[in-house]
């Protein structure tokens, strides 16, 4: 597709502040299509950006004006599901949720569950190393993938199809599978993924605790883990997020609370029972104003529906919103939330917080109005301040959304020149012609120096 009306829907991913029309869009229906696209791009010296469903939140799939956008979404078949071996072999365009749906009759599911799981595709999940609500206990994408096939762009064989990993629990040689996870489409184009399936837990129980103070709630999260319990999910929402979601889907949250903590405990029923008792005690000792157990599956589903629809709910309160993704040590969460509130005040912006507290993975959602001339600029400055605070307390600028274009400047803050040069050396060796998603994820030396100078001068 080359006509503007055809390529227009592909000009951005789920971070629409970064937008660009590609030279052309190609829809891949098979691995051969991907190989052909990579070879053609090499032949004509045209960079290639690959994407699946386009639900990414860091502009990692933003097209390049002089490049091809290769969409693997049409490769959407589940090729094989082996209930005995507990694996599923799928094409990259298969939607995350589809795998669990297909595995359900066998008492199995695919554990990583990003909030976008009804729309995001597995190829993108691998490229970004996607997380989700339940990864505290069950791990992120890299822990749940056994092998991938990908089309490589190394100097000796452009368009070679490689299999990384395999059906065994370990593989000979380097852990290339780990390298590919989170490589943001810069090292190869994924054409097939074999995922690990997990038995559906015999029992899941959900607790909700209300707190009068955000700091107290954050400290309770640390206390639960300290007490020797790893919940399947441990999520937190602040007052603004609570009121937005409650208005949106009537989940049954307490509108008076300054923060709520949602907890899933799952596993063997006797273990769940024992851990419920531990967690309830820790919550009340940590100053929870109220602790409730979900009475039945219906109530449990409503509570979680609220959490998972937080983004669209907040979207209704503000013309535009911008979600960020820093991770910090659990015991610093309270401090980072307080700092975020201070920074927000400085830039006259509102921030809602709804996040994976158990992982220390924060998702401040900045609300702004793009029509105001300087609103986006203030938003970006606020985001930069928050991310750099995350680094300062020993955290990272991205837990699960990836660097993409969005956080490329902050890479210069998190990493030293030698570290960034190490990343570049890897990229150069595996993608010597700069074909695959160039100019993202790893900043150039010049860009780093420029950004550091700018920040130092208080800009």
């Amino acid at each position: 597709m080359v006509k503007r009306e055809d390529t227009a829907p592909f000009e951005c991913d789920a971070l629409p502040v970064y937008c660009e029309a590609p030279l052309a869009v190609a829809l891949a229906h098979s691995e051969q299509d991907v190989v052909a696209a990579v070879r053609l791009c090499h032949e004509f010296g045209v960079p290639l950006v690959s994407r699946g469903a386009g639900t990414g939140l860091s502009a990692g799939a933003k097209p390049i004006a002089r490049g091809l956008l290769l969409v693997t979404a049409p490769m959407n078949r589940i090729l094989d599901l082996d209930p005995q071996a507990m694996t599923a072999r799928v094409q990259p365009g298969v939607i995350n949720q589809q795998i669990s749906t297909a595995a359900a009759p066998h008492g199995l599911y695919y554990a990583p569950d990003p909030s976008s799981q009804i729309a995001c595709s597995i190829g993108g999940n691998v490229a970004e190393n996607a997380g989700g609500v339940h990864c505290l206990k069950y791990g992120v994408t890299v822990q749940n993938v056994l092998s991938v096939r990908l089309v490589s762009a190394t100097a000796d064989n452009i368009g070679e199809v490689l299999t990384l990993g395999g059906d065994c629990l370990s593989q000979p040689g380097y852990d290339l599978l780990a390298l590919v996870h989170g490589s943001e489409g810069g090292l190869g184009v994924i054409t097939e993924v074999t995922v690990k399936l997990t038995p559906v837990p015999e029992q899941t129980r959900t607790l909700m605790a209300d707190f009068d103070c955000v700091r107290t709630a954050a400290d309770a999260v640390s206390a639960i883990v300290r007490a020797g319990v790893i919940p399947a999910a441990l999520e937190m929402m602040d007052k603004l997020a609570i009121s937005a979601t409650e208005a949106f889907c009537h989940a049954g949250y307490n509108l008076e609370a300054a923060a709520i903590v949602l907890i899933d405990l799952d596993g063997h029923p006797l273990e769940v029972q024992a851990e419920l008792a531990v967690v309830e005690q820790v919550l009340s000792e940590s100053g929870a104003a109220q602790v409730r157990r979900a009475a039945d599956e219906l109530q449990r589903a409503r509570w979680w529906k609220g959490r998972k629809s937080a983004f669209p709910a907040i979207g209704r309160l503000s013309p535009d919103y911008y979600c960020i993704d820093g991770t910090v040590p659990r015991h610093r969460i309270g401090e980072v939330l307080e700092a975020t509130a201070r920074f927000a005040e400085k830039y006259s912006l509102r921030v809602a917080n709804v996040f994976h507290a158990g992982d220390g993975n924060l998702h401040p959602i900045i609300m702004f109005d793009g029509i105001e001339p300087d609103a986006l600029e203030r938003t970006e400055k606020l985001a930069a301040d928050i991310l750099e605070y995350c680094i300062a307390v020993g955290g990272t600028i991205t837990g699960e959304h990836g660097v993409g274009l969005e956080k490329i400047n902050q890479m210069a803050v998190q990493f030293s020149d030698a570290e960034l040069e190490q990343f570049r050396a890897i990229k150069r060796n595996l993608d010597p012609f700069e074909l695959l998603n160039p100019d993202k994820q790893i900043p150039t030396l010049a860009r780093c120096q420029e950004y550091r100078a700018l920040r130092q001068s208080g800009g």
Binding site: G173, Y174, H268, P329
Partner: protein, 366 residues
């Protein structure tokens, strides 16, 4: 942090040595034999070390409430276990310890998992961050101390099993777990032919099952979790309560492992490897089989047919068979451009061999 005062930081000194070799312009190709303190020769690390990371030791940071530990590569795992036990915690992955002096860095570099791997977290998944010296003598740090981190390429996990060929590991941050409340083992008399049916049954014992081992006609199961649940399951399972030594299995210290030749066969889950009685020890629901006094070349062919591969610990070596040899060369070139670190290992383990070398590995771990 009081733990930080103990130990010995050799990072600058080691980095200076590597840098010197990197910049050296002599006729001879410089190289370094990197290891910890020589306890993991059977697992592939060199015996005569020119860069012994065992000297670089001590806890850098331990935060029980974060379930993370950062320690220098040369710290013995046995010391770390004592520290963690004081806080009712343990490593999230089992790491073999051939001796009480076996180090954290050696466990990462060799990348071997223990019996719990098939049921819980692998070593590579418990690595959160890693600081290392690259082949240019630069100290670089990847990953972090947080649970989730996708900034840049995952060069911390990449060190697991790389045998030091992608960098000299200085310190590692590991994910921990609350110490399991209760662990018990039961055993059953089982014919080898009935194992595949047993794997159906063990599948349904998740999440409490944490180890399976089939040896000399007996199947041993390890059950771990909250005491109420473990005891309840034991009552349902029947079988004989046993004191089977799972750490001796993890550390390859069972009498079974005392053999001239020893190979480890990795297979897809539930594959069945035909081997003689008394010759094999089956773990991980059939996904890992140890074979003593076997014909390694025949085993290698059989494993390949079943979709697996063989790692030789002692006896005739088999050709290495890595995926994507081009990517291996590219990574080596990116991280160690002059090929300083363990060059012999890089060629024997991470390059596709052209024909068989017939070289014998002789393990000090026997």
């Amino acid at each position: 942090m009081d733990h930080a005062s103990l130990g010995n930081d050799c990072s600058e000194h080691f980095a200076a040595r590597v840098q010197e070799l990197y910049t050296a312009r002599g006729a001879e190709q410089p190289h370094l034999a990197i290891g910890g303190n020589g306890s993991r020769v059977a697992f592939g690390l060199p015996a005569d070390l020119s860069l012994a990371l065992g000297e670089h030791r001590g806890v850098v940071d331990y935060q029980p409430e974060e379930l993370t530990l950062r320690a220098r590569a040369g710290t013995p795992l046995s010391e770390l276990e004592v520290l963690l036990a004081q806080h009712n915690q343990s490593f999230a992955a089992e790491m073999p310890q051939p001796t009480t002096q076996s180090t954290l860095g050696g466990a990462i570099a060799t990348g071997w998992d223990g019996p719990g791997r098939a049921f819980g977290m692998s070593l590579r998944d418990s690595v959160l961050g890693c600081r290392l010296i690259n082949g240019r003598g630069e100290i670089i740090n990847f990953g972090g101390q947080v649970m989730k981190n996708v900034a840049g390429y995952d060069l911390a996990r990449l060190q697991v099993g790389a045998l030091g060929t992608l960098g000299a590991i200085l310190d590692v941050t590991l994910r921990l777990q609350p110490r399991v409340e209760d662990t018990a083992s039961v055993s059953f008399s089982v014919n080898a032919g009935a194992l595949s049916q047993w794997w159906q049954r063990t599948r349904s014992l998740r999440p409490l099952i944490s180890g399976t081992c089939y040896l000399d006609g007996r199947l041993y199961l390890r059950i771990s979790g909250r005491a109420v649940a473990v005891q309840d399951l034991l009552a349902q399972l029947g079988g004989d309560i046993t004191g089977f030594d799972w750490s001796a299995l993890a550390n390859l210290q069972l009498p079974f492992f005392c053999s001239e030749r020893l190979a480890c066969v990795h297979l897809p889950r539930y594959a069945e490897l035909p081997v003689g009685a008394g010759q094999a020890l089956v773990e991980w629901e059939g996904a890992r089989v140890w074979v003593r006094e076997g014909d390694h070349h025949a085993l290698s062919r059989e494993a390949a047919r079943l979709g697996g591969f063989v790692q030789v610990l002692r006896g005739p070596a088999v050709p290495s068979q890595v995926d994507a040899p081009g990517w291996h060369r590219a990574l080596r070139n990116a991280l160690d451009p002059r090929g300083l670190f363990n060059p012999g290992l890089f060629h024997s383990r991470f390059c596709t061999s052209e024909g068989e070398t017939g070289r014998e590995y002789t393990g000090a771990g026997r």
